[in-house]
């Protein structure tokens, strides 16, 4: 293996995320400032070729949608209060099938909560954010390496699946600085968007076996493009609930679920003979890794599953869960939002929750719950 001289720098996650998004092809950033996403706003203003300071979050999302429909590749960063305002527009962009990336930096809720306190409290809302329960891709980085690679993945997914994609992070992940070797960053490929070849009339919502319709932007000189958020057929004609329109609506679900393997990302750290599994995601991963190391030093056999593609839930995750008689889930929220998504609301005998809100879960708290 080639050894490079380390290129150590002191860097924060916000900077890595914006740089990765820009390298991957994000060319437009629209945002309304909100703590703890303000560093991203600052970096994006400098780094992304077009940056717009929108007057509110609804406008933010409408501008993004218009620009996406016209062929640009927009992103924004916000936190729950801003996301709440965007929900109707997120549904619009989802139904229109417009590529874009939405960064959510989680902070303590409910409501305004505490803007400078981290949290993992917004997974539940993303699980139901599209009316009708349709899935939307949610990636959650567990550290700086992931911030880089999942930002690229988010951009690729947005284009490949013609969809809004969420990057779910949290205050502690993007607002602390860490010594970091830049050599760890793998080169990012800028997403390619070749113009699809269409014979005859372009039907904007007619998909092949990929279930994703080819994308041609508004203003195209060759084909007329129709885009709509209301229930529609392949030609974007608005329909009430006729079979063709319902088939198109169902496709919005199927395009993700039928291709779930392309959206599945996790780390599984296995140890021979382990019968316990610790599951975590996002910011709690740091503590979980420290806890895992100490538990193994103590001679405990335990595996660690870090889920990075949180939604839609991959069947591969269930396959892993089914291999363990005893499961622990650590996440920084009161009720266990990933636990509820994976196992439902009812208590499950072999699943123990490690939850906390208002502060990060510590390695010792994880160890204490397991030992």
């Amino acid at each position: 293996m080639e050894t490079l001289t380390p290129k150590k720098t002191l860097i924060d996650g916000s900077k890595l995320m914006i740089e990765a998004l820009a390298q991957a092809g994000v060319d437009t950033f629209v945002a309304y400032p909100i703590t703890p996403s303000n560093w991203m706003y600052k970096y994006a203003k400098e780094r992304v070729p077009q940056f717009y300071a929108a007057p509110d979050e609804i406008t933010t999302f409408q501008w993004m949608s218009g620009m996406s429909a016209a062929g640009r590749l927009p992103a924004t960063s916000s936190a729950f209060p801003g996301i709440a305002l965007m929900v109707e527009s997120i549904n619009m962009a989802y139904a229109m099938e417009l590529p874009m990336v939405i960064i959510i930096t989680q902070r303590l809720g409910p409501s305004t909560g505490s803007a400078t306190t981290g949290a993992q409290g917004d997974l539940a809302i993303l699980n139901g954010i599209i009316s009708g329960g349709y899935p939307v891709p949610v990636f959650s980085p567990s550290g700086f390496d992931d911030i880089w690679s999942l930002s690229e993945k988010a951009v690729q997914t947005a284009v490949k699946f013609r969809t809004p994609v969420f990057l779910l992070t949290s205050k502690e992940m993007v607002m602390h600085q860490k010594s970091f070797d830049l050599n760890r960053l793998k080169p990012i490929d800028k997403v390619k968007r070749p113009k699809p070849k269409i014979e005859g009339t372009y039907l904007p919502y007619k998909a092949d076996a990929s279930l994703v319709p080819p994308f041609i932007p508004l203003g195209d000189d060759e084909h007329l493009v129709r885009i709509t958020a209301s229930t529609h057929d392949e030609a974007a004609n608005i329909r009430k609930n006729d079979p063709e329109a319902l088939a198109n609506t169902r496709r919005l679900h199927d395009k993700f679920i039928n291709r779930i393997d392309e959206l599945t990302i996790y780390d599984l750290e296995r140890q021979e003979g382990a019968e316990k599994l610790l599951i975590t995601w996002g910011i709690t991963t740091d503590a979980a890794r420290d806890a895992l190391a100490k538990l193994r030093e103590m001679g405990k056999k335990i595996d660690l599953l870090v889920v990075k593609s949180l939604l839609p839930v991959s069947p591969k995750i269930y396959d892993i869960l089914n291999q363990y008689p005893e499961i622990f889930i650590a996440e920084e929220n009161l009720t266990g939002q990933l636990k509820e998504i994976l196992f439902g609301h009812a208590p499950v005998k072999n699943v123990k929750q490690i939850n906390k809100m208002g502060n990060m879960i510590t390695p010792d708290e994880i160890i204490g719950a397991i030992v």
Partner: protein, 421 residues
């Protein structure tokens, strides 16, 4: 102007109620586009929700159909998105109900003055949901229905004009709509045309009745060039991120956490960053994070630095090994974290009997006498490094050496570390 034979309309039948005024504006737009000779692929029609939102299937142009009240914002997004393609024209429609929801979007689009036209079809009410009043329902109309008649409507045209719209018109006479639209579309920048429209189902059934209750016509112009949209040149954020080479040796035996507690404007955050960089100059791994109130210019300013030879995962610091406390704000923020296993370095003025009794080993230092208010945290940190050997003072000097105020900082560090301790 010669009229081309192109129609910008599909062969679909208008979906409006018999006698509805919306068709007049749609036909007028078609004629205006014919006279202006746009190609259908150059026109993007943006539609809203409500009766005026039924129009997108009618246009044989590009179309996009979004949410209620949002077509001015969606349309501006499209306009910004196509701005670098030549000769594209975005025309957004909205009703008076949508305009009430999206008032902010209209004012914002007017202020931005990017090339687009907004057509407001004002039939004084919500036709799709039962004839409820909107923010543009006039008082004369509300007298007839005897509801909220004392509340005036928004004057959308004046509002748009005041916000910077290049061309803003209210037109009531149907026979003038086409020419008004033509002028609006020719205007480079934001233009808005509010056209009076009949709603035979819930509002005025006849044109002469409608003319009795509408607001008077208005026309405003601004001599203001349209805002140009273009990509700015950018460069990688990583280019400006300095790569740190280890040049010093650390005597650190195991992971240590240092908490610096001061007040806003006292440099605690910068000093913590210097300390983290100093750690890297000494070959260590580090994390650094700050905590301060939302109102960043007042109150406490606390920063945590962790130093270790090993990579650091968890960044929390429940039990700092060192406290460097320079102000009362800082002390009150971290007081409940103090513990007797830590080395507590604190400004002498902050030490009271309670503190001394509870933490008998605390080290009282005249930090505030060592430097001015802005440099006290740096002086204190240099003092602690010198005293404890956590890191070589030279590493701290190296860390500040790329800062624009390095001369001042180096002087502070020199002064503190050369005096006998």
């Amino acid at each position: 102007m010669t009229k081309n034979k192109q129609t910008y309309l599909t062969d679909k039948k208008f979906p409006f109620c018999p006698g509805c005024g919306h068709g007049i504006s749609i036909n007028a737009l078609n004629k205006a586009l014919q006279e202006l000779n746009y190609g259908p692929n150059d026109v993007i029609v943006v539609s809203d929700i409500g009766c005026s939102g039924l129009i997108d299937p009618l246009f044989a142009t590009h179309t996009i159909h979004g949410l209620h009240g949002r077509s001015p914002a969606l349309g501006l997004g499209v306009a910004m998105g196509v701005a670098q393609k030549p000769n594209k024209k975005v025309i957004a429609f909205i009703g008076d109900g949508g305009a009430t929801i999206g008032l902010q979007h209209i004012l914002e689009a007017a202020r931005r003055n990017v090339d687009m036209t907004l057509i407001v079809l004002n039939n004084l009410l919500y036709g799709m949901t039962g004839g409820q009043i909107s923010g543009l329902s006039t008082q004369k109309f509300k007298e007839i229905i005897d509801f909220e008649k004392d509340i005036p409507p928004f004057d959308l045209i004046q509002l748009a004009h005041a916000s910077g719209s290049r061309f803003s018109v209210r037109v009531n006479a149907p026979n003038r709509i086409k020419d008004t639209l033509k002028k609006a579309i020719e205007t480079e920048g934001f233009s808005i045309v509010e056209a009076a429209s009949l709603c035979p189902s819930y509002g005025m059934k006849k044109m002469n009745e409608l003319m009795e209750v509408v607001e008077h016509e208005e026309i405003f112009e601004h001599d203001r060039p349209a805002t140009k949209i273009k990509d700015k040149p950018v460069h990688s954020l990583l280019e400006e991120t300095p790569v740190i080479k280890p040049q010093f040796k650390s005597e650190l035996k195991e992971r240590k956490g240092i908490l610096i507690a001061g007040s806003a404007g006292g440099g605690a955050q910068s000093v913590a960053r210097f300390l983290a960089l100093a750690g890297m100059h000494a070959g260590l791994e580090t994390t650094m994070k700050g905590e301060y109130p939302i109102t960043v210019g007042t109150g406490f300013s606390v920063a945590e630095v962790i130093l270790d030879h090993q990579p650091i995962n968890y960044t929390g610091l429940e039990k700092p090994d060192y406290f460097i406390i320079v102000t009362a704000d800082g002390l009150s923020k971290v007081r409940n974290k103090l513990h007797n296993d830590a080395q507590i370095y604190i400004d002498e003025k902050l030490v009271d009997d309670d503190l001394k009794n509870q933490y008998p080993n605390l080290i009282s230092v005249p930090f505030s006498k060592m430097a001015n208010r802005k440099s006290t945290a740096l002086a204190a940190t240099a003092y602690v490094l010198n005293k404890t050997g956590i890191l070589p003072v030279e590493a701290l000097k190296e860390a500040v050496s790329s800062h624009r105020l390095k001369d001042i900082f180096l002087e502070v560090i020199e002064k503190v570390t050369q005096q006998p301790v």
